[in-house]
């Protein structure tokens, strides 16, 4: 793996993580559970592919299903809480999932060699079944799905629930169903992301799913903006690529990271991509199209 390819792959994986957060944000829920689902996806896919010889796509579908079901189970109690309490509950889930999986220890003989998760040492020798292309195919699929949803009545219903869930209920929308669905979809996306991560890096450990990863998932979305799916994509790209330009700072890169986030939050508290610059781009696009067609 070359340097550029690695950075591209990590960026792609971070986009998937950010978009998984965005799924529940479409209905106004800020979930910090995604890293927990990411860990479940990673360990699940690693187990299925390394120990049971499953191909990648069925393994990813299986972890997506498991994460989706856990998402439904977790989604119902999470509907009762909001804001900081929802953030704490979902953060708790992430921490519990990461700790449980990080301490997982069992070995299975595969072709005469004992393999499996080794607790804090991690899970080694996971088959590399994906590449930068595989990661970006999934990113493209996610972006296409979110773009499509935004153009449909379902997308409009999501916007309504995010804006005012009480009024949305009086529009005849089953708000509980919509919220749990989006929470479960976000969980499934995070599960697939975790699976891709494990089958790309070939080694995972508890450190990959720590609090810092949860914090980054939050920052990608907060910096990029929550108004459209483009925000989390931009946030993930920016916060993955920019720190690479200051590698010479060594350990002090964390300070640079903090400063970037602070400056962006001060200058654009609603994130880099919000309604105003999005409508400006749309107007520019319309005027250029009109000039081209001579209208």
């Amino acid at each position: 793996m070359g340097y550029v390819e690695t950075i591209l792959s990590v960026t792609g994986l971070n986009i998937i993580l950010a978009l998984s957060v965005y799924f529940s944000l479409t209905v106004g829920q800020f979930s910090l559970a995604q890293v927990g689902f990411w860990a479940i996806g990673a360990y699940g896919s690693a187990t299925l592919t390394a120990l049971f010889g499953w191909p990648l796509i069925p393994a990813l579908m299986a972890v997506a299903l498991v994460c989706g079901i856990i998402g439904v189970i977790l989604g119902f109690p999470c509907l009762r809480i909001r804001g900081i309490y929802l953030a704490l509950a979902t953060l708790g889930f992430s921490q519990v999932a990461a700790q449980l999986l990080g301490n997982l220890q069992f070995r299975i003989a595969v072709e005469g060699v004992l393999r499996g998760p080794e607790g804090l040492v991690g899970f080694r020798n996971i088959p590399v079944l994906t590449s930068v292309y595989g990661i970006y195919v999934f990113v493209a699929l996610l972006v296409a799905v979110l773009w499509w949803i935004g153009r449909t009545r379902f997308g409009m219903a999501l916007a309504a629930v995010r804006d005012d869930d009480v009024a949305a209920e009086f529009a005849g929308i089953n708000v509980v169903f919509v919220k749990v669905t989006m929470f479960a979809l976000g969980a499934a996306v995070a599960g697939i992301g975790g699976g891709l991560f494990a089958n790309y890096t070939s080694f995972i450990s508890a450190q990959d799913f720590g609090f810092h990863q949860t914090l980054f998932s939050l920052l990608y979305v907060a910096v990029g903006g929550i108004f459209t799916f483009i925000g989390p994509v931009v946030g993930a790209i920016l916060l993955t690529v920019l720190p690479e330009y200051v590698r010479f700072l060594g350990e002090n890169r964390a300070i640079f990271y903090g400063v970037i986030v602070l400056v962006i939050m001060l200058l654009r508290p609603r994130g880099l991509i919000d309604r105003s610059n999005l409508s400006a781009v749309r107007k520019l696009w319309r005027s250029k199209t009109a000039t081209r067609t001579g209208a």
């Binding site: 449909t152 009545r153 005849g172 089953n174």
Partner: protein, 247 residues
């Protein structure tokens, strides 16, 4: 059509609605008046499912609806507006109306297709009709949060009508409207009733209620103190003492 049987709602020790029994006739405007805090909005909240009754029954078209989730009540044919408006401020006027077509968006294809929002679908035609009926056509692409108070009130009614209800609960629809707008609202409500809609109207503008309602119920401290035609209510001594006497 709608029957409230010994309906009560208590908040702690306060009984906002107390043993209320009412029968709403079909195809009429039913006024609900009373001083502030008399329980008018609580009744609308109970009928529309925002609150669960403490005791008593709410029957709509013969079926119990008390305590049912609001989205299911809407699908049964009861729509409402809010005293403190709850428009989707980040959506345009036409999208606010489209969201309220959810009860008639039943197929997966209607939810996930973009074609259903174009000019040749019945749902789209209904949006056009409501925009025209509520004089909102010119404002269709305006964000709901940018509208004047009167325009917002009209949009709230348009949204409620988009659910195609048989019973419409209006919570102070004329508040903040100009004289001309109130006149137009009166005409609209009369037309809707002529087309078979039943309306429960909570309103403080007495001239408006008296002119438009066929029957009026008067509440005080959550209890029914009078019910009858506008003439009967206007001349009722208890009503004059509790409410109208202050006008």
């Amino acid at each position: 059509m709608l029957e409230l049987a010994r309906l009560s709602k208590a908040f702690g020790g306060v009984r906002a609605v107390d043993e209320l029994t009412l029968d709403l006739p079909r195809g009429a405007v039913f006024g609900l008046i009373g001083p502030n805090g008399s329980g008018k909005t609580t009744i609308i909240n109970l009928i529309s499912g925002l609150y669960t009754p403490t005791s008593g029954e709410i029957l709509f078209e013969g079926g119990k609806i008390g305590g049912m989730p609001s989205h299911r009540i809407v699908r049964r044919g009861i729509a409402r507006t809010f005293q403190n408006m709850r428009l989707f401020s980040e959506l345009s006027v036409e999208d606010n109306i489209r969201v309220f077509q959810a009860p008639h968006t039943r197929k997966i294809g209607d939810w996930l297709g973009t074609r259903q929002m174009s000019g040749n679908s019945p749902l789209h035609e209904k949006v056009e009709e409501l925009l025209h009926k509520l004089a909102l056509t010119k404002l269709r692409r305006e964000m709901a949060g940018n509208l004047s108070l009167g325009e917002q009130k009209r949009l709230e009614i348009a949204r409620a009508l988009a659910t195609e209800p048989s019973l419409l609960l209006l919570d102070e629809p004329a508040g903040g409207m100009s004289f001309q707008e109130i006149k137009a609202l009166g005409e609209l409500l009369r037309n809707l009733v002529a087309q078979g809609l039943t309306i429960m109207l909570v309103e403080h503008n007495m001239r408006f209620v008296m002119a438009i309602a066929q029957r009026i119920a008067v509440l005080n401290f959550g209890r029914l103190i009078a019910c009858g035609s506008p003439q009967e209510v206007r001349s009722n001594r208890t009503v004059i003492e509790a409410y109208l006497g202050n006008e």
